[in-house]
């Protein structure tokens, strides 16, 4: 009875917490909307005031609208014959939206703020985490746990307080994308997933905005300008989304911090060129960056496709069906990078990390197989585990058999399988069952749950 009461009580508390969190989120959304409105109103007033004061004394006397402060601040760009006053003045009149304040967005935002883009918007719903800092250089330790947009906006303001900075502390969705993107001249796609890339490209086609698209993973990066001056859109190039298994994420495959940094800088550069009407943007071409071999290759890509569903001759894309379109379903992958949680096994083939702790404490004879790739295993592993990467599992069966024999003569010894998050371990157990190790069980939630539920000092990555 008593324990039942405890369960009820915790369920009640959880419900109350959830409802409070929900209303907190609603209130925060309303606050940020109002803040954005206020900023808009204030900046309009500011611009009006500036326009009238420019007429009376400042800009007009030099004939280009740059104030003495601006001339001094941007002097090194004004000195460039191919950029000069005209380029700077175009830049100051332009507005750029950066979607994603992560590895690509960080340097892009810093350079765009510094170089004097008139209005700089940023969209992100995420918070800063410690494992972001190696590449998301706009954020500092003090902002861990806080909104990425807040952090990025503060950094941009500290570099250049004279430009207008607009915070969109929300995820870009089909419901808000048209409204947000329509306020800007140029869009930078600095997101990290396939559905966002299709959604942003479609949105830019609908609104006629040039799109500077960058991507980075591991030690490679890619860059292109889409929907610019009759050039192709993202869908012209990739009409069909790739299979989910081909969409790797930085959180799984890793990324060297400076690689998205390089691509993000190039994104800022292309956006500056488009905004200032200087140079030859990377449209109809694609830049491929291979950091490991220090190779940059610029290739010619197809032009706008007449068959394209977004920008072709008979497009199926309209503003109405854009708002209805399910990009997650289209690409078979989620917009926000929540880690995959498979459920391939029945409960009796699985144990929790706490139950495994009991197995260890009781000293039950068992073999623990860690099926992560060996470079993961080298980061951290549980004591007395043997590393057999999933890909080699079938070839390494004899080793598992002999390990089993060495504990308790193989009699009644358990076989437990662990991985990082508990997906590969299920695949491995399925395979082991097929190969005759019927007692194999996986540890639910992998090493992450071990760190969360059993040993708080166990490192996560």
């Amino acid at each position: 009875m008593e324990s039942n009461g405890g369960v009820d009580e915790s369920a009640r508390l959880l419900r109350e917490l959830q409802s409070l969190k929900d209303s907190k989120r609603d209130i925060e959304a309303r606050i940020s909307a109002l803040e954005a409105q206020l900023q808009q109103v204030q900046s309009n007033q500011h611009l009006n005031k500036k326009a009238s004061s420019d007429c009376s004394n400042g800009g007009s006397e030099f004939g280009h609208g740059l104030t003495p402060d601006m001339i001094y601040r941007y002097s090194r760009q004004l000195l460039l014959p191919s950029f000069g006053v005209q380029g700077q003045s175009n830049l100051l009149k332009s507005s750029i939206l950066v979607i994603g304040a992560g590895g690509l967005g960080s340097p892009a935002l810093l350079y765009l703020a510094a170089c004097g883009v008139g209005r700089l918007g940023m969209v992100d719903h995420d918070v800063v985490e410690l494992n972001n800092l190696h590449r998301q250089i706009i954020h500092g330790e003090a902002y861990i746990g806080r909104s990425k947009v807040e952090s990025a906006a503060a950094a941009c303001r500290s570099i250049n307080s004279t430009i207008e900075i607009i915070e969109h502390k929300e995820a870009l969705r089909t419901s808000n994308a048209l409204a947000i993107v329509s306020k800007y001249d140029i869009v930078i796609d600095a997101t990290d997933n396939a559905p966002s890339r299709y959604m942003i490209s479609d949105c830019c086609v609908l609104l006629g905005k040039p799109l500077v698209s960058g991507a980075a993973l591991g030690l490679e990066g890619q860059l292109a300008v889409y929907n610019y001056n009759g050039g192709p859109c993202y869908r012209c190039l990739f009409p069909t989304p790739p299979p989910t298994t081909a969409c790797q994420r930085c959180s799984d495959s890793g990324v060297l911090g400076v690689v998205p940094g390089v691509i993000g800088c190039l994104q800022a550069l292309e956006a500056i060129k488009v905004a200032s009407l200087v140079g030859e943007p990377l449209s109809g071409r694609m830049l491929l960056f291979d950091a490991l071999s220090a190779r940059i290759r610029i290739v010619k890509i197809r032009g706008r496709s007449s068959q394209c569903e977004a920008c072709g001759e008979n497009p199926t894309l309209t503003q109405e069906n854009f708002q209805q379109f399910d990009y997650e379903k289209f690409t078979q992958s989620p917009l926000s990078p929540a880690p995959l949680k498979l459920k391939l096994l029945t409960e009796d083939c699985r144990i929790s990390s706490k139950e495994y702790e009991d197995v260890v404490k009781k000293g039950d004879a068992h073999v623990l197989i860690d099926v992560r790739p060996s470079h993961h295993y080298k980061i951290v592993s549980l004591p007395n585990s043997m590393n057999v990467p999933l890909a080699n599992l079938e070839d390494k069966l004899p080793e598992i058999s002999s390990a089993l024999k060495s504990v308790n003569g193989g009699q009644d010894a358990g076989v437990y399988v662990v991985c990082r998050r508990g997906n590969d371990s299920q695949r491995a157990v399925q395979l082991l069952h097929k190969l005759g190790f019927m007692s194999a069980k996986d540890i639910v939630g992998g090493l992450e749950s071990w760190a969360h539920d059993v040993d708080n000092r166990f490192p996560t990555y």
């Binding site: 396939a194 993973l217 890619q222 930085c250």
Partner: protein, 161 residues
Amino acid sequence: MKRTRRQYYTAAVERLFYWGIKRHFYAFLLSDLSAIAAKAAKQKENRTKFQLHERVFVKITKMQLTLEFGGGLELLCDSVKIHSVDVDLPAEEKKLTMKHLLAWVRSNLIKERPEMFMKGDTVRPGVLVLVNDCDWELSGQLDTTLENKDVVVFISTLHGG
């Protein structure tokens, strides 16, 4: 290696050719213009024949290509990004097309998960194919004819950031 040899041959022929002109300049002092023109034309013809001969020779045996894999596709071929390969021409064919090459790559270079490289007889969605730094969409996709020493790049589109 081969390229150097070809360059050497071309340079040698060119040297011979210009040396010939120089000789003809002196000959011009002694003889008439039409004879010189005829001789020069013959030499030029020889030069073309020589080059043509070399090209035909390479074509009928096999095609030397550089294949590059990127954006994660290299993981399907032992994590090797650049492959210098000799591809035999398909029997009864005078040319090598991308369609043949894809089949060849699939059976000779791809070591695992071929479905991550191909779908049907073409590459899977999300893979860009570049022939000499140019989207194969511009050269006829599967029908693109390859030449000796062409560079073909297969690159998977990235989404990370």
